[in-house]
């Protein structure tokens, strides 16, 4: 049973599965499958499994027969290109060479098992470890760079190995997690031991214990508290020092102060046989606070990985010649270079297919799992996978301008963006911390005057309990998760304020052409008004429209005449000189205002879109039209169900706009609007208190988009990510729109919950702490739980489907 046959038969069977319902689960490990590509046979029917590992395991369970996989081959050049990108580390202490390989299609424990057991059989592999979390294979090789068999084995198993690129940010986060974990462990062990001694003291009660034992326990506790205070809690001390050097009072300051002062006081009392020691408090503070930090770091790493994977989709080396094979680094590929992509490999460049027929998996960009057919002249995106056949592609943009690079820049920018909420929270935190320090001092003083022996504990409790960690976590963590989730839905967020504004939107304005309709305009009819031959008129029109990016321009196809003095009036038309004659094409009023003589010709009818071509005299009418998108009706009614008013703003003055609006159930419609009119219309609605979302293609309605409260561009055919809009729908479809609007509202709800909780928590516990009604350990635990609650609440946003 070869894998090719399996996939083919399975694919056919799975179409019905997908239609009939719900998510598909792996037959072996029960994991959820997005796009089934591996199958097993159960009673002659194909059932999907998530990965080659599960397929192998399932087949081995069914029969004792283990089939050998077909050997894939890999050229010397390909292996050399791969090896060249690896870090050239020397042998380690055991004389072995460490190499890590990224395998993005590792899905479950079966994959890890399959890869480990297959690679371990190779002679050159001394040790192997597969990390499910990193999707990486860590190898120890006996010879440097001896990777050919490893790579061929991985490919034969059905995986696509990629060179592991070092990422400084990710490495730093992992190092931070490790260091926090070590500190947490030490604090935990220390805390348990100190508690044992404290418990004995508590049980004995005051004076109930022989002073000799009490001294012994105090000294032992001191010995345990030293590493906790100076090793485990050092993250807080260094953070506090950094803040103080910058002249700020950050959140680490009260924490560090509380830990250090409690430790110092206890140490002094141990040396001088004073009344109280608080080593148990010190250890517990540190342990619970570190716990909060550790969970926060884990959450950050998880979403950092989501962001990184998109860059890993790109191959490091690109094949620019097939025979003999020549490779160039992907980021050095220039515009116009022909590149070669085999079946199963990712496209390295944004470009146009010049040879071959295949399908592409664009799910990384669009969220759409059905493979897209690609043939000569079609656009392919770097990072999407070529599934079936070898292809030749001409690159259209440099690496810097590719969608994948723009996306990673955008997501980095939006991660840095601080929404209004977060800025306010930061402001509040700053004053809040200063206020806490004062409050802690005052309440300590009050209880001291009142003659309370544990007055210092009250002070410490106030310091720790009121730390506004949860408040300052409330927004950023929700935004990081939401941006990542939106990208998975096929929405690229370019402006950090997008989600915040989208949540308040109550009116959605659509552009017509290319937004509610497919935008693939066709030339339906030509009516000649002069002696000119039909083909000549079309040729002139096409050549003029080559200069315009309006969707109507595409209807005319490619023009070959040379045009001089080209002038484009957005939304109106084009003027240009061909062979010494000035032509104007576009909106009849625009064409006529340019000064042709004679009477203005009557438009053939009012119901469709007519474009006029004229020189000195009118030459021809062209009728163009396109069809409504299949999903338009569903999206419009979905938005209305969310309580949004939907309106249509179009430059088109024909009946088509009105009849389209009526068929979709849109009552508010503005036709024949120039870009300025659209801006005016939006401003008028805003004046009535409506919050506007403008949806268009981002080219001829850029002005209206920037006037609206927020805007979404639908990915235009010829450019990739629109800069005019706050967000871009990457698949050329409106489907994610309704989900995006309701998601934005959910994000707002979650943030409001987070902030509400953080504020309410502090309002309740600070008075209790000042009144001396809270034990210090409750304060530390409460604060960590409060942060944890905020993180967990935000994590819900990552799971929304």
């Amino acid at each position: 049973m070869s894998e090719v046959v399996l996939e083919f038969e399975g694919e056919a069977g799975s179409v019905t599965d997908k239609k009939t319902g719900g998510q598909q689960v792996c037959r072996y490990c029960q994991g959820i499958i997005e796009s089934p590509r591996h199958f097993v046979f159960v009673d002659g029917l194909a059932a999907p499994v998530c990965c080659p590992g599960c397929q192998r395991n399932f087949e081995m369970d069914q029969s004792s027969l283990i089939e050998t996989q077909p050997r894939e081959t890999m050229s010397v050049a390909e292996v050399a290109a791969f090896t060249a990108t690896l870090r050239g580390a020397g042998p380690n202490r055991s004389g072995l060479y460490s190499v890590s390989i990224l395998v993005p299609d590792i899905r479950c424990a079966s994959c890890a098992w399959l890869i480990e057991s297959s690679l371990r059989k190779l002679n050159e592999v001394a040790d192997i470890k597969v990390s499910l979390a990193d999707k990486k294979v860590y190898l120890e090789l006996t010879q440097p760079g001896d990777l050919e068999n490893v790579l061929i084995t991985l490919k034969s198993l059905g995986y696509s190995p990629l060179p592991d690129q070092p990422n400084a940010q990710a490495e730093a986060l992992k190092a931070q997690r490790k260091s926090l974990l070590s500190r947490l462990g030490v604090a935990g062990i220390g805390m348990m031991q100190v508690m044992m001694f404290s418990l004995a003291t508590y049980v004995a009660g005051p004076g109930g214990m022989d002073p000799a034992y009490q001294t012994l326990f105090r000294w032992a506790s001191l010995a345990l508290a030293v590493p906790v205070t100076f090793y485990s809690a050092s993250v807080f001390h260094t953070g506090a020092l950094r803040d103080l050097r910058r002249g700020q009072v950050g959140m680490d300051v009260p924490v560090s102060l509380a830990i250090l002062s409690a430790f110092t006081l206890s140490a002094v009392n141990t040396l001088t046989s004073g009344e109280h020691v608080y080593f148990d408090t010190v250890c517990m503070f540190t342990f619970f606070l570190l716990m909060g930090r550790f969970i926060e770091a884990g959450s950050r790493i998880r979403f950092q990985q989501g962001q990184d994977l998109i860059e890993h989709l790109l191959p490091v080396m690109t094949r620019v010649n097939d025979d003999p094979e020549v490779y160039l680094p992907t980021h050095e590929i220039s515009v116009g270079t022909l590149v070669y992509v085999n079946a199963g490999e990712p496209y390295p460049v944004d470009g146009v297919v010049t040879r071959g027929n295949s399908t592409a998996d664009e799910s990384a960009f669009t969220g759409e799992v059905t493979p897209v057919l690609k043939t000569v002249g079609d656009r392919v995106l770097a990072g999407t996978a070529n599934l079936d056949c070898s292809m030749q592609v001409r690159s259209q943009v440099t690496y810097q301008d590719s969608v994948i690079n723009q996306l990673s820049v955008l997501s980095r920018d939006s991660a840095l963006y601080k929404p209004r909420f977060a800025l306010i929270a930061d402001q509040i935190s700053r004053y809040f911390v200063a206020a806490i320090l004062g409050l802690a001092g005052l309440s300590g003083l009050y209880w001291y005057v009142q003659g309370m022996s544990d007055w210092i504990l009250v002070s410490l409790t106030v310091l720790v309990v009121s730390c506004p960690c949860a408040l300052s976590l409330a927004t950023p963590i929700a935004y990081t998760i939401a941006t990542t989730r939106l990208r998975e839905m096929g929405v690229a967020v370019c402006n950090g304020e997008f989600l915040e504004r989208l949540a308040r939107v109550n009116t959605v304005a659509f552009d017509k052409t290319g937004t509610l309709t497919t935008g693939k305009l066709r030339l339906l009819e030509t009516r000649l008004l002069s002696e000119m031959a039909l083909m000549d008129a079309r040729q002139i029109a096409a050549s003029l429209e080559m200069g315009s990016r309006h969707p109507i321009a595409h209807a005319f196809g490619a023009g070959t005449l040379e045009v001089e003095d080209l002038e484009v009036t957005p939304g109106k038309g084009v003027q240009g000189v061909i062979n010494g004659t000035t032509y104007r094409i576009g909106d009849p009023d625009f064409v006529w205002s340019g000064g042709p003589s004679g009477t203005k010709p009557e438009q053939p009818d009012e119901y469709s879109t007519w474009v006029l071509l004229a020189a000195e005299r009118p030459i021809a009418w062209f009728q163009v039209g396109d069809d409504a998108r299949d999903e338009a009706g569903e999206v419009v009614s979905g938005l209305q169900a969310l309580g949004c008013e939907v309106c249509l703003l179009t430059g088109d003055r024909s009946r088509q706009g009105v009849s389209l609006a009526e068929s979709l159930g849109i009552s508010a419609i503005g036709t024949g609007l120039s870009p300025e009119d659209k801006v005016g219309e939006i401003a008028a609605r805003q004046a009535q208190g409506e919050v506007m979302l403008m949806i268009g293609d981002g080219i001829n309605d850029a002005a209206a988009m920037s006037r609206s409260d927020t805007s979404i561009a639908i990915c235009p055919v010829d450019s990739f990510v629109s800069s005019a809009a706050d967000a871009t729908l990457l698949a050329n479809a409106l489907i994610p729109l309704v989900a995006t609007v309701s998601y934005a509202r959910q994000v707002r709800r979650v943030i409001a919950q987070n902030i509400g909780w953080a504020v309410a928590y502090n309002m309740i516990v600070v008075p209790l702490a000042v009144a001396g009604m809270l034990a210090p350990w409750m304060a530390a635990l409460g604060m960590s739980l409060s942060s944890l609650l905020v993180v967990l609440n935000s994590n819900r946003l990552g799971k929304v489907s």
Binding site: A109, W113, A133, L181, S182, I189, G190, Q193
Partner: protein
């Protein structure tokens, strides 16, 4: 009860060893992937 004067110092030594062992295991990537290892009991042995 005088034995406490011996046992408490011994416990400190044990705690120290435990801390060292924990830090050692963190440094040696024992805690890097907590997901996969939990499945290892369910997976086939090498030579099957």
């Amino acid at each position: 009860m005088e034995v406490a004067f011996v046992l408490v110092p011994i416990s400190l030594v044990i705690v120290l060893t435990a801390c060292w062992a924990f830090i050692w295991s963190v440094k040696n990537d024992q805690f890097d992937d907590l997901e996969k290892e939990s499945f290892s009991i369910l997976m086939r042995d090498e030579d099957e």
